[in-house]
Symmetry: C2
Subunit: 80 residues, 2 copies
């Protein structure tokens, strides 16, 4: 089973990486980019075949390692 | 209009960041994680309202700045 996790900074948390990208896009002549936020995707290939067990396991991975719950939100998508 | 870009390393390109995550998950006792690959998400808030124009502009941003076409693939999702 494949899991895809999206980790993004919470709203209101400053995103200096996003700001840098926005500035760089402006320098390259791309106008009309009002906001940029950058996050990460983590794709896992799991041996687990049960969807509920996989979701609970991935949720624990996010809380323990993959996301910083103080400043980041995560979403989990599973594909069997 | 909002654009979400997913940038992932191409298949076959070594992903040391993913390997590090896989190793760390193993150390934390999560078994059965066969592969981990990490990429980035970039969310743009665009002033452009026309979907085709937005897609073409975001595509150019990816090729010029956001993705390294030699080793990375990107996909673009637009939401009006």
């Amino acid at each position: 089973m494949k899991a895809r996790i999206h980790v993004m900074l919470k709203n209101g948390v400053l995103d200096p990486q996003g700001k840098a990208v926005q500035h760089a896009l402006g320098s390259l002549g791309f106008d009309g980019v009002n906001e940029v936020r950058q996050g990460k995707i983590i794709e896992l290939e799991l041996a687990e075949t049960d969807t509920e067990a996989a979701r609970s396991s991935v949720d624990e991975m996010c809380r323990k390692l993959l996301a910083n719950m103080v400043i980041e939100n995560y979403t989990i998508e599973l594909e069997s």
